[in-house]
Amino acid sequence: MVQQDFQRRMPEASRDLRKPMGFWQRIHVDTPLLFSLLVLTAFGLIVLYSASGADKHYVQRQSVFICLGYVVMFTIAQFKMSFLQRWAPWFYVAGLGLLVLVLVMGTGAKGAQRWLSVGGFRFQPSEALKLAVPIMVASYLGVRALPPSFKHVLVTLCIITVPMVLILKQPDLGTSLLIAASGLIGLFFAGLRWRYIFGAGLLGVLGSWPMWQFVLRDYQKQRILTMFNPEADKLGAGWNIIQSKTAIGSGGLNGKGWMNGTQSQLNFLPESHTDFIIAVLAEEFGLFGALMLLLIYMVVIGRGMLIAIRAQTSFNRILAGSITFTFFVYVFVNIGMVSGLLPVVGVPLPLVSHGGTAIVTLLAGFGLLMAISTENRKVSI
């Protein structure tokens, strides 16, 4: 009732009203977004084919997941945002439940326990949280008066911290940081006051020393140290970064040509089809290829921001904003890590790296963006 009384007419609303509802809007598809995603996934498959050493198996598997991802995307695009907002706490709780299950009965490799297998099918529950956390944050803040009060900020931080701790326990530093980032981005878009932001920044600087001493594990410290001086451990932890920088650098402006990268094709480059795939692209397609990829990413991100700005409710805006910005964070962290700007954390290049669950999650996120962008405009006078 309170909302109804104080709702105001937005300046753009009359423009939207005048436009008749088109075919694409009726089936809840945002065409510019869809088109740029299609270009991106197609480009990704071409790079993957080369990165996997001309192995059709990888490309086929990836294609299957991409198709599945699009199906999920179209399905989610049909959701009503109000429905999503109401059910957000339950998604969030279910996601937390899965995370607890992983800790109890998960499977994994290399000392980490990240996977849950159900009837021969394996998936990473932490991926689901990449969506559940921003939805929960947006839904919590969306109904509150903005900018959020100190109490609401604290509750939001709790919402973020619980899954973050659970994922840290797996342990998976990269994913937990990304999930925390997606929640904090939501908070930022909700209008978190600058004094909180600067305060937290100051705390972060002061708190980094105890973090280093007590929280970070040895291999995580190793990664950070390696970033600053990869030459110190040439054949060990520094190997990945040296090889990926060599691959990118030797690519030059035009690249060595598709399937001709010596670093990647001769197996000098580790993880060439997953986290380090951008190095393959930069080596084989050169700087132009890398810029092309960045351009496609920017089109996707730009469209996402536009959708967020045009959205009608705070929930929609915060959600769209945090999905889009998180997507950019993935791109930046991955490329930054492979090119030696950031420490090596396990972040795949979104929609290009090989990996099924991640692709489905990302496209599901874009399904939310489409649902937001094609939602019927309610105008109250």
């Binding site: 309170v2 909302q3 104080f6 709702q7 105001r8 937005m10 050493g53 109904v143 509150r144 008066a145 903005l146 900018p147 009060s149 109490k151 930022f188 878009f189 909700a190 209008g191 054949l235 040296i242 920088k245 060599t246 691959a247 990118i248 650098g249 030797s250 690519g251 030059g252 402006l253 010596t262 670093q263 001769l266 197996n267 000098f268 930069a282 050169g286 700087l287 890398a290 810029l291 960045l294 920017m298 991100i301 921001m305 967020a308 700005i309 705070s314 805006r317 915060i318 904003g321 910005f325 950019f328 930046f332 490329i335 930054g336 090119s339 030696g340 700007l341």
Partner: protein, 622 residues
């Protein structure tokens, strides 16, 4: 909630969001520029550095092939060794244009079409089977001049390397081709048949045992591959070794074979086709194993040319065929001492039992005459000693008829007839030592008494290999101790066990009788091999034989003279010496040798060579 209630201000919230979105977009733009700047630095500013790094910093693992084990004869003479040889190879990854490189190389050194075609075949092998920067051989056995010419043109030949490798060499040439065998390049089929465990063993090794001992003892001779981790520059040259894991050389084989005796046997055979096997009676070790004609195994080591192979493969004399273990010959009369012993043991005959030999033998109620080799026969009363010494066929027709197939088969099987001896080289044949069951299974006919008669003189269905005959003779000479014939005496430092594997039991009296009879063959006044006893400083026992030639292709009429020669009887001789404490047992087959004395003379030369060169001469003891 009520006291802190602030009203939702949608317009304001939308404005806040818009401001934040603008800030976010600015942040994105800044970070994007950072990324692009980073990529620009790496790919444009520092491009050269990384190009050289990617070209130079190629740490790779190289296999270190083990040295193949050597093969020695009993006196330490080398039968198989490894020699350095220079191979021209190409590193695919470093060559700009394969075709022009090969063309340029063929102008510098002779490269045949065989070489190029097998080179391209090797090149096309799937990527996974080849390590990157592995040199692919194009031509083997370069000489000094070739190497010099390539060295001078090195600047034009990127990716071309001359590698020194150890290549198998058989210093005795054709002398041991049939038993030592040879190695050859690993072919596609062998590559496919490797198990995942075997595959890495052949890293860096290009050859594998194809025949003879080289094949039988492949895993022992091969050794274990080592590895080294090296840093190479862009031209594939090793700059430094980071880590090294040495290979373990293969074990050496020491054989029973005696190169001297082998040479004697070859010389004695001369230009004739045939087979000679000599066995050490005490151990079953094979002292000589000759199949003539033979071939030079060195031809096969780096790949035999089509022309040479065709010549060997299509020769009428079958040089590639190992007569000693694959040749099936009717043993003829050489079986007689063994059968006589069988008769004695079965109580069918005794030392006094005699038959009348009119020159033929007839079964009751049958018209057919089974002829003796001597048209007029051997006289009215032929007893055992005489029957062996003069090789009286009628005596054996009678013996075979009365002994019957079953007892004859059983006794002969005890000497290993009709089954592989199990010698330690591959592709041995079992020959045929017939039985009722064998005839039913193979000819679909019952056993007739006439079949027994033919078997009694070593003809008919009987087929034996020279090795089986030698092994049988050694068993006779040692009075029933049956040893496993083998070539290898010592593997590395491990001496092979030579204990007897079976015992043929017969009474002492019967053994004496048979060995006396065999002595009579050589030293008796009317023995069929008396010609070889002259001037011997030791006494020997033996038995001659001739075998009719069957199965020569009748349509090969282009050379009637040669054909006639090939239809002559085979000459056979088995024997041992000295008669007391026998040391050596031999079997000799001279194809189309006609007279059995041809074979017996060869045996005598073997006895002479072997016994007179023993550390303690047996001859002096006598």
């Amino acid at each position: 909630m009520s006291e802190h209630l602030r009203f939702k201000d949608h317009y304001n919230e939308s404005r806040i969001f818009f401001r934040r979105a603008v800030i976010a977009a600015g942040l994105i733009l800044c970070l994007l520029i950072l990324l692009i700047a980073r990529l620009y630095t790496l790919q444009v500013v520092e491009h050269e550095t990384y190009v050289t790094q990617s070209d130079r910093n190629r740490v790779q693992v190289q296999p270190l092939p083990p040295t193949r084990g050597l093969i020695y004869d009993r006196n330490g003479e080398l039968l198989a060794e490894n020699r350095p040889s220079y191979t021209l190879s190409i590193i695919k990854e470093q060559v700009d244009s394969m075709e022009s490189t090969v063309k340029l190389l063929s102008e510098l050194v002779t490269i045949t079409e065989d070489d190029t075609s097998s080179f391209y075949k090797r090149l096309k092998r799937p990527k996974r089977r080849r390590r990157p920067f592995e040199p692919i051989p194009l031509r083997y056995l370069l000489d000094e001049e070739d190497i010099a010419r390539i060295a001078v043109n090195e600047y034009r030949l990127k990716g071309v390397v001359v590698e020194a490798q150890l290549v198998r060499f058989y210093p005795q040439r054709s002398l041991f081709a049939h038993n030592v065998g040879y190695v050859g390049r690993i072919n596609e089929n062998e590559l496919k048949s490797f198990t995942p465990e075997e595959y890495p063993l052949y890293n860096g090794t290009h050859s594998i045992g194809k025949n003879g001992l080289e094949k039988q003892y492949e895993s022992i001779l091969l050794g274990q591959v080592g590895y080294q981790q090296v840093e190479t520059n862009a031209r594939g040259r090793v700059l430094r070794v980071l880590e090294r894991n040495d290979p373990v050389p293969g074990q050496n084989l020491h054989l029973f074979l005696d190169a001297n005796l082998q040479r004697t046997a070859f010389a004695a055979l001369g230009q004739r086709r045939g087979a000679v096997v000599a066995i050490d009676v005490e151990t079953g070790g094979v002292l000589a194993m000759v199949s003539a004609p033979t071939y030079d195994p060195n031809l096969f080591v780096t790949g035999i040319s089509h022309k040479n192979y065709k010549a060997l493969n299509e020769s009428l004399d079958l040089p590639l065929f190992n007569r000693t273990i694959q040749g099936g010959y009717p043993p003829g009369s050489t079986l007689k001492p063994m059968l006589a012993l069988g008769g004695l043991e079965a109580n069918v005959v005794d030392e006094h039992y005699s038959v009348r030999d009119p020159g033929f033998y007839q079964l009751e109620g049958e018209e057919r005459r089974y002829r003796d080799w001597k048209p007029r026969g051997h006289g009215a009363r032929v007893a055992l000693i005489q029957a062996v010494a003069q090789s009286c066929d009628v005596y054996y027709y009678d013996l075979a008829f009365r002994m019957g197939i079953d007892r004859m088969h059983g006794f002969g099987a005890g000497f290993g007839l009709g089954e592989k001896t199990g010698i330690d080289i591959p592709s041995e044949r079992s020959g045929i030592w017939p039985s009722r069951k064998w005839k039913r299974d193979n000819r679909r006919l019952p056993w007739y008494p006439g079949d027994s008669l033919n078997m009694g003189i070593g003809q008919g269905f009987v087929v034996t290999t020279p090795l089986q005959l030698a092994s049988m003779t050694a068993t006779l000479a040692s009075r029933g101790e049956k040893h496993q014939p083998r070539l290898v005496r010592r593997i590395g430092e491990t001496v092979v066990d030579t204990a007897p594997v079976a015992q043929v039991s017969a009474t002492q009296k019967n053994w004496d009788l048979i060995i006396d009879a065999m002595e009579e063959v050589v030293h008796g006044p009317r023995g069929t091999a008396r010609s070889i006893s002259r001037k011997a400083n030791f006494r020997m026992g033996g038995k001659t034989g001739t075998a009719q030639v069957v199965g020569i292709a009748q349509d090969a009429k282009y050379d009637s003279e040669a054909l006639a020669e090939r239809q002559r009887d085979h000459a056979l001789f088995v024997g041992f010496a000295p008669i007391k404490n026998p040391q050596i047992a031999v079997a000799v087959i001279v194809e189309n040798g006609e007279k059995s004395s041809t074979a017996a003379k060869i045996a005598r030369k073997l006895f002479d060579t072997y016994l007179n060169n023993l550390p303690v001469s047996i001859a002096k003891e006598e």
